[in-house]
Symmetry: C2
Subunit: 260 residues, 2 copies
Amino acid sequence: MAGFARFQAVLRLFDETASAWTVPAMSDALGVPASTVYRTVRDLVAGGFLEAAHESVYRLGSAFIEYDRLLRLTDPLVAAGRGALHDLVAQAHTPCVALLSRLYNDQVMCVVDEAARDTAFRPSYERGRPMPLTQGATSKVILAHLPARQLNRLIGGPKDGDARHAALRRELADIRKRGFCATASEIDAGLAGIAAPVIVREAGIIASLSLVADDSRLEESQRRRLVLLVVSAASLVAEELRYALTPPTIVEPRHKMVKQ
Amino acid sequence: MAGFARFQAVLRLFDETASAWTVPAMSDALGVPASTVYRTVRDLVAGGFLEAAHESVYRLGSAFIEYDRLLRLTDPLVAAGRGALHDLVAQAHTPCVALLSRLYNDQVMCVVDEAARDTAFRPSYERGRPMPLTQGATSKVILAHLPARQLNRLIGGPKDGDARHAALRRELADIRKRGFCATASEIDAGLAGIAAPVIVREAGIIASLSLVADDSRLEESQRRRLVLLVVSAASLVAEELRYALTPPTIVEPRHKMVKQ
DNA sequence: AAATTAATTCTCAAAAAATGAGAATATTGA
DNA sequence: TCAATATTCTCATTTTTTGAGAATTAATTT
């Protein structure tokens, strides 16, 4: 293990259930000598990616908060999504959570979320949490609009198809045709998801905007209304992105030299 | 430049005003050959720390969103602060923004923020934004409770004191004695800040909890009430942290081997 | 205060990886 | 299709990283 992988491997140790690590424990878990891990950790601490808590225990560092803010402020999808989701949950006039999600490696990740006032539940999809590719309206809408090659890589080519695989393919084709996807209890029991695609081919953006609401309270007319809201919010976001991205974001070299 | 510095240098290029970079531009800015930067960027993209937008332009990657979520969920200070700030802005009964901030390298960074309903302004202090050490109630409260050695390193030893330096020292001593700090228009014109320390020595935690409100609307009685609120919220957070951290977070080695 | 234990840094030679310049290749837009 | 860029590749050289254990430091106990 070398180069960046070394740092990645350490950072990947941290998750919801293991949020604090000692160096010996990392050394153990990674099968790498302690002296090596100490050096790696020292670098990560210097960069703010890890922080020494008390008693030789390390946690994720504040640099992630800093970079997350930058991303929130500067990422076109996130920026466009924030306003749209805010409006969407207000117009929904019912407890719900709105999400904007995109592909992230082999999973789908929500990059903006917003809950309506007085929404008691929280869906499993939430900002920053990687979710499975093939379940839930949010993910399926993204899958449905992926270029064929990429889709094949992610869920396997059309030939190696068992029955479930063929069914998924059919469902995706259907979603593409309809322009939205609605599911219930696929991710969270009792919650329904309604998702529509946010596609800006020129910019390589394939995302999905979705609304999660309590399924039992969702009458058919209400459901149709929300589908319309979601679909139009999604095309609004797409439009905003097209507009924001046409004068392609200028990259100005700053001729800043790096020290050392 | 080698090791981790290489990756850091690339990531540090990204900020609010330069959020999208081409490799040639990075190569230029860093004074490093393009072929080298391509390799570095490839690693960062593989790790999710950078993402290729359209047309050979790179942006910060979603890994930051993922790690930020983990941090939000697992960092004791952040976790304790979220609830406290939520309650605080509700009890304030006036438009305001509450912040929980800590030292971050040579600056102060807010790690949780929460605005009361119908708060029109947004203070410069916001989650993830590094702020100067010596201005604003938020920062001063932190400075005031730093161990002498650390303080000397950050603002210079007691001997090399000009008038301003001596005044700051006096102010810090005063803050330590009073147990809070209130300022007005030090960071944002027209906004007042009230901050109290969140100290948990056993855990090495030195943070500050603050409330920002419109200065012109702030009568003396109201101000006193808010000071009380802030001070008690701060000690509540400290107490919660002591409780959460006494059974020191167990680090369970997972004996997970790294691939490759 | 000394002793014990654990954490962390240091040392150094061997092994591995990064570097840079340019060639080779892919991708993109006209 | 052609040009213009972007990106990857190649390879000899230089520079790190690595790992094992010793040395040091820090924390805790006796």
